[in-house]
Symmetry: C2
């Protein structure tokens, strides 16, 4: 029984890791590996810290200051959303973040004169996803919503 569940989840992880959004994220992270320190790591290992199971989340205090690592992961996540948007639309979407030391803030993704994404961030110190599947679902949804905005205002997206 336990094995069956385990296998099903393993298969789901594999499918999630093969989605275009996760591929973007992995490419982005591997591009920063100047010294080849992560070459031996699988994609799942590389993205391991993005996953926060319910138990792990419960173990983190409700109020806390985000450390540089979690801020880096947050930045990678939204940059990957921008990259996924670029892959599908050909328009460069650059993220901009403002996070207070307490972990509250805002992220913006813009292209041309168009705001593609504007999100208030809270509890950044607990940023993470329950499964790889939820990670890719969240990223793909943000990219898809942004593409819909571009399609609704193509001239503004080109900065006209």
């Amino acid at each position: 029984m336990f094995d069956a569940v385990h296998n099903r989840e393993g298969g789901e992880d594999e499918a999630a890791l093969a989605t275009p959004f996760v591929k973007c994220l992995v490419r982005l992270i591997r591009a920063q590996d100047s010294f080849g320190a992560w070459e031996g790591k699988s994609d799942a290992e590389l993205l391991g810290d993005f996953i926060l199971t319910k138990e792990k989340r419960r173990a983190i205090p409700i109020i806390g200051d985000p450390d540089p690592d979690v801020l880096w992961r947050l930045n990678m996540f939204y940059t990957a959303v921008g990259l996924a948007i670029e892959e599908r639309s050909g328009l460069i979407a650059s993220p901009m973040m403002e996070i207070s030391h307490e972990g509250f803030g805002r992220v913006l993704l813009t292209t041309g004169r168009l705001v593609l994404l504007s999100k208030t961030l809270r509890d950044v110190h607990r940023f993470g996803f329950e499964t790889f599947w939820k990670l890719t679902a969240a990223g793909s949804k943000l990219a898809g919503d942004a593409i819909a905005v571009i399609d609704a205002h193509p001239e503004v997206a080109r900065g006209l």
Copy 2:
């Protein structure tokens, strides 16, 4: 002769200090004076550090890290631009800044789904204006350009 020049400049300063943009900036700064420490100060004194004459500018090293005071003034300036936009259009324009510790960065002003201003910032440690007149001219121009963008895309500005 010297007096005449002085008077003319004094008159210009007064006119500049009475412009809507400078009024916005002064209001913004006075709103932060929780303890009344600046009550006795005139507007010109309050904005004194925004003015960087050619001599003063020359005295600042070309490369340098911005200190918190200059970052605060930069923030006040762009927030005042946003306030001036709001006064004229009724739409809230919020600024977002990303400045590296070396004084390079970017400022964005958005309203709804529209990017009103997107500017690369350089040499932030030398942020300042030669005269009050140049300060108000710069701020008013940025606000005016943003209003033109809103007029060109009214639905996007309302976030539709």
